[in-house]
């Protein structure tokens, strides 16, 4: 792992560390990270956050506070303008708010896409794709076009596509926001299953507090724009998690606390 550690520094920042393991053995470290867009919008200001390998961290915050920006900075989709980000970007999973499938590709070919971009041999692509399609419960739909799948199934294809690269870090940007409640809760369980089985480090942006608590080992509350970390809540429940957990008193209590913190964040 240490060999592919990527430390990205803001243009005016200090020299990058020399390929040593990430600070404190973490999987992702934001060190005084700020992000100012070219138009002057401050997306993030002085974000400090360390995520240990195998943690599943949810991020909640007022809309427009910079949650997506945080993931984009971490993944390298945009370059931050201050501070340092430490993350291994070599095996990165990323799902967007919608499934972003290529509509002209069948399920099978969509799942193979990222491997194709990484020049995996065809034989291996096919094998891994079949495996991941089975993992998300879509065996039998390999030859369907996305057009004919339900929203939940599309999202599963999207998950399988990311899983194909065996991600060490998996980022989710409000992935289930557009789905109905029942599909959403099922996918929550499936992602937890995947998390337990595949052992990636997860960062999960959501606007649902119960979802955040249900999924994660830590919930981060961000303040309104320019986003900074306002509160971090440890979630004391063990994995794998049972759906009944949602109805327990300590679950509701934690949700309540986070709710209060979020309200403070919105009011500023």
């Amino acid at each position: 792992m240490s060999a592919d550690s990527t430390s990205t520094t803001a243009p005016e920042g200090q020299a990058a560390a020399d390929g040593a393991s990430l600070p404190g053995g973490n999987a992702i470290v934001f060190d005084h990270v700020s992000m100012t867009f070219p138009d002057g919008t401050e997306g993030l200001s002085d974000v400090n956050l360390a995520i240990a390998p195998g943690e599943f961290v949810s991020i909640v915050g007022p809309s427009g506070c910079g949650k997506s920006t945080l993931l984009k900075v971490a993944s390298g989709l945009v370059t931050h303008t201050g501070g340092k980000v430490w993350v291994d970007r070599d095996q990165l999973g990323y799902t967007f708010q919608d499934a972003t499938l290529l509509p002209w590709r069948k399920v099978q070919d969509n799942v193979e896409l990222l491997m194709e971009l990484r020049d995996f041999p065809a034989e291996e692509r096919r094998r891994i794709a079949a495996e991941k399609i089975e993992l998300v419960g879509l065996t039998g739909f390999e030859n369907h076009y996305p057009q004919r799948l339900s929203g939940g199934m599309k999202m599963r294809v999207s998950l399988a596509r990311s899983l194909a690269l065996n991600p060490a870090v998996f980022m989710f940007d409000e992935p289930f926001g557009a789905l109905d409640e029942i599909t959403r809760e099922r996918l929550n369980d499936e992602v937890i299953d995947l998390f337990v089985r595949e052992g990636f480090t997860g960062i999960f942006v959501t606007h649902s507090i119960p979802e955040a608590v249900y999924m994660s080992s830590k919930v981060v509350v961000m303040s309104r724009r320019p986003g900074r970390i306002q509160d971090i809540f440890e979630v004391p429940f063990a994995y794998p998690r049972a759906p009944e957990m949602r109805y327990q008193a300590d679950f509701s209590e934690l949700c309540g606390e986070i709710s209060l913190s979020l309200r403070k964040a919105i009011e500023g």
């Binding site: 993944s75 390298g76 989709l77 990165l92 990323y94 967007f96 708010q97 919608d98 972003t100 290529l102 509509p103 002209w104 896409l113 990222l114 194709e116 971009l117 990484r118 076009y145 996305p146 057009q147």
Partner: protein, 294 residues
Amino acid sequence: MSDTQIPADTGKHRRANIESHEATPVAPPPSVTRRLVTNLVPPILAGILVILAYAWVRSGLPPHRQFLMPSGTGIWELAFGIPDFVLELLRRSVTTMAIAVTGLGLSISFGCVMGIVMFRFLFLEKAIFPYLVVLQSVPVLAIVPLIQSALGFGFMPKVLIVALFTFFAVPTTLLLGLKSVDRNILNLFKLQNASWWVTLRKACLPFAGPTLFAGFSISGSLAVIAAITSELFFLSGEGGLGQLLMNAKIDFKYEQMYAALIMASVLSIAVYLFFKWLGNRLFSHWHEASGKQQ
């Protein structure tokens, strides 16, 4: 005034609408005959309307001018009914189509390259686009003589005229399609460090396909008209339909002129339908609008 007033209790004006609705076991696929009927009846009805309008205008002409609008029997007896003339018509159609197809091929290949280049260097769009618009708005008929005095009366000048006519739609529709790719799809490629070229091939071009083919069918239907226009000024030698049109007019053979016009429309429609058909074949499995019947 008083009877336009809305009653306070609208509920009692609702129609009782309780009835049993029959089920069909499986939604039946549209049958072939049904598809033929829905596709053919509207254009045939519209065609009949046009013919009626034609007959009506013709009947209003004084008899000594009715030769300007030949009758259906006249067109048959003096044009389509004469095997030699039909052969000539076909031969000339081939000549015209050769010009149209070559010109179209030129504008499609150059247009696609230009669309991609503008997509790569978006500032070029700002540089090139105004000239494309100018090119499109120049009355091509006016520059045909210029092209001929510069380049002569051969095959290539005519092809060039077709290319000028049909160029505009190709780079514009392609660029539009390329630019409408979902941001996050591009992000997906960026996350894998995909090169610009790979992103173009695997994301942007397939995405732009349906839009581009809409451009092709616009250009395609213009191509035949353009080829005929390009021939209007060549009255010697063995030419295409455009030459036939001019010669027939000079000789007062209006039946033949109409026959050539009908042939030209048929060819235009054929080219248009070809691209429609090809677009449907290529894209209907994933692009909803492509699968819709027109």
